[in-house]
Symmetry: C2
Subunit: 302 residues, 2 copies
């Protein structure tokens, strides 16, 4: 089993720690924020409860995750390190610099970035050939997908070894030929979100209607048949004719008034009690539960 | 119960006929193509089998669907007509002109178009105020969603009555404030497909990888939580920051080399044995079955 050090104990860092520990790996987590680190154990226990893991099994899993009080404590005896700090280039670069100062030259380094360019993140590294983009989906202990990508200077051996380890955990890995901002999943997701916002801005419908459409049509299908298989299924000639007809009408926006408006009014979504939708007390928990149930019913063999 | 006339007995027309007949309505179908019309009964029986309807119930449902040999036969005694002919503006306009010549002035007319502009389709109509865009998803007797939209001249009464009838059948209707090409669902779908083709053209990954990503991440979630609720859930500030960072990299293409290449080589997808993916014998049936199973497991109460 592998011993991991994880920098960043927030939502993704702690979720990845749980995923690794469930698979038998040992994880040491460090976070610069004391409160985040102090709540780690409690959040791990809650995550294992959401996995519906019996207490007898959950105990040993939780015991494989420990908190380190310093970055130097975190790296003692680890076989690989993973950064899951916020998606800001300067933050990621500073963390990687601090890590490289205290780890052996050929220790693998994984970055959970997806939105930033991995090649940019690697700039300033002494050994960029060991940096692998390893993008997990939330919650990492439930969603099977992990996207793996090389930066411009990454040695393919590190990519291969990352995939082997993740596949050995039962994860569904995909390998990108090269690093692009957003990898695959977030580009697909935000291409759709961009068009949804466009429909709001064009006053075609309201936000609830967008979600109703997704949940009562496309969302029913995409866990079973992906968009490329579907394009072949309905015919590439039909697909082309629809796309050629629709594409000139689709959004190419790079600014988003439909988000600016609520944000300017202080509406940030769930956390502030309102955003595109209204968030009365209890809705956040209801959505989280609905999401997990939805994911679970689709986690079946093809 | 309502008596419908449907022009166009292909995939969508016959599927809509089945959906209406299952709900107790009577349907008379006309198609200019004799072979399409001749196979109607057989396809209706097959569709009802796929609904897992017991033969005792299927018989009366099938009996509510009849074929008409002429357009004039089709309209006798109907309360509403629906056109489900191919997505070509000239074809739709010609069919509507022929219909209006033989039906009462205030009989509702539904159009299953989604890709064409409904306002364009209505041009040339004597009574465009009665034309309602009623866009079904395939298969119409399984997928709950029906998108309903007015053309520029449509009287809102016809829109309201269409929604009432569809809701009474247990359909999930959404009303667009105005008609746009692609309505909502196909715009969201093809915004995502456009980006998928972009990733292929940029040689980031192959088509199978796109589908793996969808099925192992986003596809697991979108039947439970739509993109607008998710944006609020993760926070509109985070959503904006990701979008602002990714949007300049997303596709704005209006031409599609990733489709041109296989099409130029005669690869049209399933029908020709190959397209973006390979289609050995039996794959088409396997995909259809997988799709229906996927849809069914998600057709649950929220």
């Amino acid at each position: 089993m592998t011993r991991f050090g994880i920098v960043g104990g927030g939502l993704m860092g702690h979720g990845i720690a749980v995923a690794l520990a469930v698979a038998g790996h040992h994880v040491v987590v460090y976070d610069a924020d004391c409160a985040t680190l102090a709540s780690l154990d409690e959040r791990v226990v809650r995550a294992l409860g959401r996995c519906e893991m019996p207490p007898d099994d959950a105990g040993p899993v939780a015991a494989r995750i420990t908190a380190a009080r310093t970055l130097s404590d975190m790296v003692v005896g680890v076989d690989a390190v993973l950064e899951a700090v916020p998606e800001r280039l300067d933050v990621k670069q500073r963390v990687l610099e601090a890590l490289e100062a205290i780890i052996p030259a050929m220790l693998p380094v994984w970055s959970n970035t997806s939105v930033l360019s991995l090649t940019e993140v690697a700039k300033g590294m002494r050994h960029p050939q060991r940096l692998v983009g390893v993008h997990w989906w939330n919650p990492p202990y439930v969603i099977p997908l992990v996207e793996v990508a090389p930066g411009a200077e990454t040695d393919r051996r590190f990519v291969r070894e990352a995939c082997e380890l993740l596949n050995g955990m039962g994860k569904t890995t995909v390998r990108l030929h090269r690093d692009v901002p957003g990898f695959i999943g977030n580009r697909l997701q935000f291409a759709l979100v961009r068009e949804a916002l466009h429909l709001l801005e064009q006053e075609v419908c309201d936000p609830v209607t967008i979600d109703t459409v997704m949940r009562a049509s496309l969302g029913l299908r995409w866990s079973a048949v992906g968009p490329m298989e579907n394009a072949d299924f309905i015919g590439l000639d039909l697909t082309r004719s629809i796309l050629e007809s629709l594409a000139p009408h689709l959004s190419s926006a790079v600014t988003f008034p439909a988000l600016e408006k609520p944000l300017d009014a202080g509406h940030r979504g769930r956390a502030s009690g309102g955003g595109l939708l209204t968030w009365p007390p209890g809705r956040g928990e209801e959505v989280a539960r609905r999401l997990e149930n939805g994911i679970r019913r689709n986690l079946v063999e093809p």
